[in-house]
């Protein structure tokens, strides 16, 4: 049995779900807890086939609530534990995620968005942005990476374990059914062979020594008796979240300096946006491209800086304004000339329709 599932750089052609399973192995995840839901099932299918070969574990739970809370248990025991879900599963997962936020539990998850609301489709959408960034009865203390390619699925799932265990906020790879199910090439690698240091997992419970004598007992709670007690507990969490932002926020921008219009998008839609921008540039249109990679924390300062150069935007998303809400909040108090939107809930984008839209309005 080898500890290193991937040695050297390995160019592969596979589905996104398979890439996620390999990424979790490469990130030294110890255990996955999960419940079947389309389109994330193959993350479990590959993990259950691969895990025993590398001494890793799996538990199929009775539902997503249990998947979330058993994952939290695994993390409390000091293991790198993760899960994956989608759609109505993400809804159920809000409960354990909120506990992870309050108790600073480094929960790692892949969310493969499907149509919504309710059961909707098993195929694709970007309608879980609200829920993954700000769901639960809390303040959105989460890190959310919205990926666009299989390479990013692999890179950002590995990175998610480090982000989660460094800052102790639940961390997500937010993708979708298209990324889950399509095949494309990527390069798999062992992160430590590339010089990336993987943060060690440490237990919250079961540390050596007699509790109350050799060490304090871990008394972990999420309930507080009075208002001020809660206030004093959560303000430091908020401050630590704020202090983390500059260290984790990520975005991508191209050709913004002389742009007359900037296409805003995230996730897989940004591939159509980037292709449209490139082809319009070839035709002589001054088009720019901006894509938040972290939807939470949102690259506010970065978008504001771009808006100071060009304040005409075309926003495209496979939802009815979930990205737009984050963008509008980021651009509050910034003069915006035009924010045009194309909302296609549950439906994908092509570069051509974005090109047509921009050519039609010029």
């Amino acid at each position: 049995m080898t500890d290193k599932p991937i040695q050297g750089e390995k160019r592969v052609f596979m589905t996104g779900n398979e890439a996620l399973a390999w990424a979790a192995l490469a990130a030294k995840a110890d255990i996955m807890y999960g419940y079947p839901i389309t389109p994330q099932n193959e993350v479990m299918h590959y993990w259950t086939r691969l895990a025993p070969k590398y001494g890793r574990k799996f538990l199929q739970t009775e539902d997503e609530l249990s998947a979330g809370f058993t994952t939290i248990g695994g993390i409390l025991a000091g293991r790198k534990a993760f899960s994956a879900t989608a759609g109505p599963g993400t809804t159920l997962f809000q409960e354990p995620i909120s506990m992870a936020e309050m108790m600073r539990i480094p929960l790692v998850m892949a969310i493969m968005q499907r149509g919504g609301p309710s059961t909707a489709t098993v195929i694709y959408s970007q309608q879980e942005v609200n829920m993954v960034t700000y769901g639960g009865n809390g303040e959105g203390w989460r890190v959310v990476y919205s990926t666009a390619t299989h390479q990013e699925l692999y890179d950002y799932l590995i990175k998610s374990f480090n982000t989660a265990w460094t800052y102790r906020f639940p961390t997500f790879v937010l993708a979708d059914g298209y990324q889950a199910k399509m095949r494309e090439p990527l390069v798999m690698y062992d992160p430590e062979e590339r010089g990336m240091k993987m943060v060690e997992a440490t237990p919250f419970v079961g540390l050596p020594g007699m509790p109350g004598k050799d060490r304090p007992a871990a008394h972990l709670r999420n309930t507080f008796s009075v208002e001020e007690e809660l206030y004093e507990a959560i303000i430091p969490i908020h401050q630590e979240y704020e202090a983390m932002i500059d260290h984790v926020v990520e975005w991508e921008e191209e050709d913004v300096d002389d742009a007359e219009v900037i296409i805003l998008s995230h996730g897989v839609v940004s591939r159509a946006a980037k292709a449209a921008k490139n082809r319009l540039r070839e035709k002589g249109y001054k088009v720019g491209y901006f894509r938040p990679i972290t939807l939470r924390p949102f690259p506010e300062k970065q978008l504001q800086r771009v808006a100071a150069k060009c304040n005409n935007f075309l926003l495209a998303e496979s939802a009815l304004g979930q990205l737009a809400r984050l963008v509008k909040e980021a651009l509050f108090n910034v003069p915006v000339n035009k924010l045009e939107t194309i909302y296609k809930p549950g439906v994908g984008f092509t570069a051509e329709e974005l090109i047509e839209k921009i050519e039609g309005t010029r």
């Binding site: 249990s66 695994g74 993390i75 025991a77 419970v205 079961g206 007699m210 709670r221 309930t223």
Partner: protein, 250 residues
């Protein structure tokens, strides 16, 4: 002044006197559990999980690593810990709402899978923390805040028989019993056997404890005791339902 000598060693003296109401059965159960932790010398390898409801008041009760979870979710958190690190002993401690209503799917599936954890359900026939609503275990005819004219089994269902249910579905190796604060020696015997069953790694260990809630029952000391000893025990039979060798104490 707190008399430390009367306390189990595993108790956290800094949080005593404890936060439960006078006459509540939680204190009795947790004292016995403390004695068992001491006798079996498991304080340094135990993780104690408490639910939402009155059980959460035990979040700092012991000098034992303790996790207070969400309503009904203590079983899966303990399952997750045990699966990740089987060296630890895990006890999920909850009320009848957490065990038989909001968390029933977790109890049922933990039992089906014979998870190597222990679960304790405190049955006091009502939801205590939220102010005395009807629970899965509320007796027929019993008045609560949400059954003010008495529980009518026709429209509100009959009381859940937890150990009977768990005993019916758990595989071999499980330990399942119902005890009562009205019989402390038996309660200690059953709780200890359940902990030992987990130490042996035989299977799921489950004990329901018939307990009291004078605050919400609005009963005095004698009425409270009578209700546990006479009324509750008529419906909820104490005894062992499953043991690893299938020899049972009635």
């Amino acid at each position: 002044m707190v008399n430390n000598l009367a306390m189990p060693k595993s108790w956290n003296a800094d949080t005593k006197p404890h936060k439960f109401c006078p006459g509540c059965g939680h204190g009795i159960t947790l004292k016995i559990l403390g004695e068992i932790i001491d006798e079996l010398e498991i304080q340094d390898r135990l993780v104690f999980g408490v639910d939402i409801g009155c059980s959460l008041l035990a979040w700092d009760f012991f000098n034992v690593d303790t996790v207070q979870t969400h309503h009904g979710r203590t079983n899966p958190v303990m399952v997750g810990i045990k699966r990740a690190n089987p060296e630890l002993l895990c006890i999920a401690y909850m009320g009848d709402g957490g065990g038989y209503a909001i968390g029933s799917q977790h109890l049922v599936n933990s039992a089906f899978r014979n998870e190597k954890i222990m679960a304790i359900v405190i049955n006091n026939c009502n939801y205590g923390m939220t102010g005395g609503q009807m629970a899965p275990t509320t007796l027929p005819g019993q008045k609560t805040e949400t059954s003010p004219y008495g529980r009518d089994p026709e429209t509100m269902g009959s009381p859940t028989l937890g150990p009977e249910m768990v005993a019916a579905i758990a595989p071999a190796g499980a330990y399942v019993a119902r005890a009562s604060i009205a019989n402390i020696r038996q309660l200690k015997r059953f709780l200890k056997k359940a902990v030992e069953n987990q130490i042996a790694g035989n299977g799921f260990s489950f004990v329901e404890v018939l307990s009291s809630c004078p605050t919400n029952w609005r009963t005095n000391a004698k009425q409270t005791w009578d209700y546990v000893e006479k009324e509750m025990s008529k419906y909820f039979k104490t005894g062992e339902f499953r043991t690893p060798d299938e020899k049972k104490e009635a």
